[in-house]
């Protein structure tokens, strides 16, 4: 269940309280997120929609520990990530968050296998254990036969599936997807959405996805709208 009213839900995986984010450019200040409250339970698949500049990506960056809020708190799995040091935040990110981007962001000189293995270099896993994890992740996304291909040898859809494998290989607490289908045609986009649904249904992954695509949003359990920095829950019936 997802709540945006800020009423205390101590069992929620992600608890956002009174979140503000203001950017400063010279003398000008731009308030991107305004007093935002949000509770997301484990296993939820949440889509964030809204016009450009509404603060969707900013919210995602804050939830992923990539950026710090101006004020307010974010608690993930009982860790208040807005209060921990930069070093601990880096470690926390490696352990708890899987990122999926619109442009895949694979390292071009690494094969699909090596790209997926990259987050595991930060763990204490042995080489053979890493191999097992990588092969499992690539199997889940259906790319076990492409593991030695470089990104330039893969289609857009395959690249995004590799990026998803990289995101799930370390079994993170939740996945953050920033426009995961934004650079794909409808067929490939549907394949990626099916994959995200599978991760949600079969593997009970918590997924937070920013999208402009209403079809993509309909795959989520809940769709939230951000408008001028304020979060609103939308009705699921819009998809029908």
């Amino acid at each position: 269940m997802v709540q945006v009213n800020g009423e205390a839900k101590t069992d929620a995986l992600i608890q956002v309280r009174n979140l503000h984010k203001t950017y400063f450019r010279g003398n000008e200040s731009i308030e991107v997120l305004k007093d935002l409250n949000l509770d997301i339970n484990r296993g939820e698949f949440v889509a964030f929609m809204g016009p450009s500049g509404s603060g969707k990506t900013t919210l995602l960056n804050l939830l992923g520990g990539l950026d710090l809020p101006t004020s307010g708190s974010i608690i993930v799995d009982n860790d208040e990530i807005t209060k921990i040091s930069a070093k601990r935040l880096t470690d926390w990110r490696a352990r708890h968050v899987g990122f999926i981007f619109q442009l895949y962001n694979l390292i071009p000189v690494l094969t699909a296998f090596q790209n997926v293995e990259l987050p595991l270099l930060l763990t204490r896993l042995s080489r053979s254990q890493r191999r097992e994890h990588v092969e499992a992740a690539l199997y889940i996304v259906g790319l076990e036969d492409r593991m030695h291909h470089f990104p330039r040898q893969l289609s857009g859809g395959q690249e995004q599936r590799t990026a998803i494998a990289r995101a799930i290989v370390s079994d993170p607490t939740f996945l953050l997807c920033d426009e995961p289908t934004g650079d794909l045609d409808r067929t490939n986009a549907n394949e990626i959405l099916d994959l995200l649904n599978r991760l949600s249904e079969e593997f009970d992954k918590t997924i937070l996805m920013v999208t402009h695509d209403p079809v993509a949003a309909c795959n989520a359990h809940t769709t939230l709208h951000l408008e001028k920095g304020i979060l609103m829950e939308s009705s699921k019936t819009e998809c029908k």
């Binding site: 880096t90 990110r93 962001n105 990259l118 990289r166």
Partner: protein, 379 residues
Amino acid sequence: MNSISLLLVNFRRKRVRKILTICSFAMALFLFGLLAIIYDAFYLPIEIAGADRLVVQNKISLIMPLPYSYREKLKQVDGIDLVSFGSWFGGVYQDERNFFVQFAVDTETWNLMFPEFIVPPEQWKAFVEDRQGCIVGQKLADRYGWKIGDRIPLKGTIFQGVWEFNLTGIFQAKRPSDDTSQFWFQYKYLDEQSDLMNGYVGWYYVHVDDPDRAEEISKRIDEMFANSPFETVTETEKAWTAAFIKQFGNIKVLLLAVGGVVFFTLILITGSNMAMSIRERTPEIGIMKTLGFSGTRILFMVLAESLVIAMTGGGIGLIMARLFVMRGDPTGGFLPAFYLSSRNIMLGLAITVLIGLAAGIIPAIQSMRLKIVEALRRV
């Protein structure tokens, strides 16, 4: 995959640029090798010159002789335990381009005065017994392919005529910096065959029993021959060698200036290449940080990459310099101690590491401090 293979994978990017950067490093370190060789060829003799040996020469000039009779007088000076002498010959072997030093030496004392040169006793004995005998250094023998028993003719330039010598021995050196391109023959042969010497020698070497007394003994020698027709200047072999080298000008400043310009340019080239390379990879660095790679780890990765480039190029350059030296002295004997010492190889590697770090440090710090959100915006 591990951190090293990740480094090597990055090393394979933009190969042409990397190869050119490595080549510029290689050329700079090759040049460093050559400069170090030239520096050592000039200045190492000063360092290794015996502190317990004094050179006594004519006060007017080195080319003016001193009487043979000084030998006995020098022996009487308190603190001197050995006196030897030599004379410059200045002969030509086959062609004037074949330059090497030739000394007419005192067979009784020369080998005792210069224990750093090793002559097998039987070869020295053969040399002493043969008036036309000569001994050459290993480098000189190798240069002309001479073997013991060979007859070597030299055309005199100061002492006219063709002088024939029998090669009776080949000497080695204890240290690689010692000059084994010398040619020694008997002073008696020169004295007997030429009216020019007629009881004179070129200069004296004296050995003092206590190096701390060198200055005092030098002064006493010069005072002893003051106001005579052959006044002397006595100095330690170190000071004498330094004064001799000073005649060529300030080689040290020249070499440091050339080396400084080359290395400063190299820092600029490599630094700008590293900066360019890192700037191109900003989004990737952002991704790595997103995945949990710490700023410190990224800093070390960038520095390691810069170091690998530097060490590869530097290593190639130093190997090239070493190979160049193995071909022998290209100056035709002007720089007899022509070799790249282990000390200079280590110094070259240290410089390589420093330049690698200097070139990589700014891009590395920028990468470390790079904000993920900023980096991801550049995708």
